[in-house]
């Protein structure tokens, strides 16, 4: 533990090697969701998983969790609103949620269903940022409760001893 609030250097360095690959993979799964297995839900959870890994390896104070965490709730809302906006754009093609973007007649291409790609991207933002915001809240609350400590019932035999940070995962 060379720095506070993280795991051993083995985990930290492996995380630094892997994080970029996890993010690219998550986006690829989401963007090609209309052609191959995957989609916005799967890709969003993969991205959340990458950021959860980074949070566990570096702690919540440094690294990606710190600079992405404060954006997470905003991006969550942006994803939901983007989905709605894309749905409203469907009116341009006739009705709510219609495919408004032009299509490449050739199948098995990224461009063969552009509006589905964009909707997948919106879902990815929504799911990825939302779940990561939830995870950060859960992770941060444990520490806040330990620091603030007690209200009147909390001494009923619960193990309050300091857990080694992040070690258990």
């Amino acid at each position: 533990m060379s720095e506070p609030g993280g795991m051993s250097p083995i985990v930290r360095i492996v995380t630094r090697w892997l994080l970029g690959f996890v993010l690219v993979f998550g986006f690829a799964v989401a963007l090609f969701g209309h052609l191959t297995p995957g989609g916005g839900f799967a890709g969003g959870v993969v991205i959340t998983c990458g950021f959860v890994l980074a949070t566990l390896a570096f702690g919540a104070k440094t690294g990606p969790a710190a600079w992405f965490g404060r954006l997470a709730s905003t991006l969550d809302a942006v994803g939901a609103l983007a989905f709605l906006a894309l749905a409203l754009l469907g009116y341009a093609a006739g009705h709510f949620l219609a495919q408004w973007a032009g299509r490449d007649p050739e199948p098995f291409r990224l461009t063969s269903a552009p509006s589905l790609v964009l909707l997948n991207l919106a879902i990815l933002l929504k799911v990825g940022a939302g779940l990561f915001a939830g995870f950060l809240a859960v992770a941060a609350f444990g520490r806040a409760a330990e620091d603030v400590g007690t209200d009147e019932f909390s001494d009923a035999g619960a193990p309050q001893g300091p857990e080694p940070e992040g070690r258990e995962a």
């Binding site: 492996v14 090697w17 963007l31 090609f32 990224l110």
Partner: protein, 174 residues
């Protein structure tokens, strides 16, 4: 670590380019789609991820772009596999032996590698070979759990075994 010796801008550019190249390779492998739109989206995505992770990526990553180091990295895989198979046979022999000749314990071994990635690769290689397990890495000291600790000079014997891995890892990362 030759990259750190250069000017700061070139250093940052090297990290960006390496992450971009690795990301693009993964993108091509996953999507396997070569029309213009897919390539453009992939390039944009990889550039975005490389820029977003510019403070996370390691100094050693650009080194892997050099062909010779990459060749050593590829050559390391079968070597590691050979050690893993040999260690597997050894552990299987110990388990099946009626007298169970094991002496479990933790030894501490000093590595001569200097780059963090190299040390971590060494620790993970040791963990991959059955019978030995890296417990922790503190500075240049590696704590290794062995299924059968040698009778005399356990630390030195372990270090001599590390040297075989270090030969390759040094040529990959240093």
């Amino acid at each position: 670590m030759t990259a750190t010796a250069g000017p700061l801008v070139a250093h940052r550019l090297g990290r960006f380019v390496s992450l971009f190249v690795f990301g693009a390779l993964l993108w091509l492998a996953v999507t396997w789609s070569f029309d213009a739109a897919s390539l453009a989206v992939g390039a944009l995505l990889c550039a975005g991820v490389a820029w977003g992770l510019r403070r996370v990526e390691l100094d050693e990553a650009p080194l892997l772009l050099a062909p010779l180091r990459l060749a050593f990295a590829l050559a390391y895989l079968p070597v590691l596999l050979a050690y893993v198979v040999r260690a597997n046979v050894d552990v299987a022999w110990r388990v099946l032996h009626p007298r169970l000749p094991i002496r479990p314990g933790i030894v501490r071994a000093r590595t001569t590698l200097r780059s963090p990635s190299g040390r971590v690769l060494l620790a993970n290689s040791i963990t991959l070979t059955p019978g030995t397990l890296s417990v922790d890495l503190v500075g240049d000291v590696l704590y290794v759990h062995r299924i059968c600790v040698p009778e005399q000079d356990p630390d030195g014997a372990t270090e001599r075994e590390l040297r075989k891995f270090e030969f390759f890892i040094r040529r990959i990362f240093e």
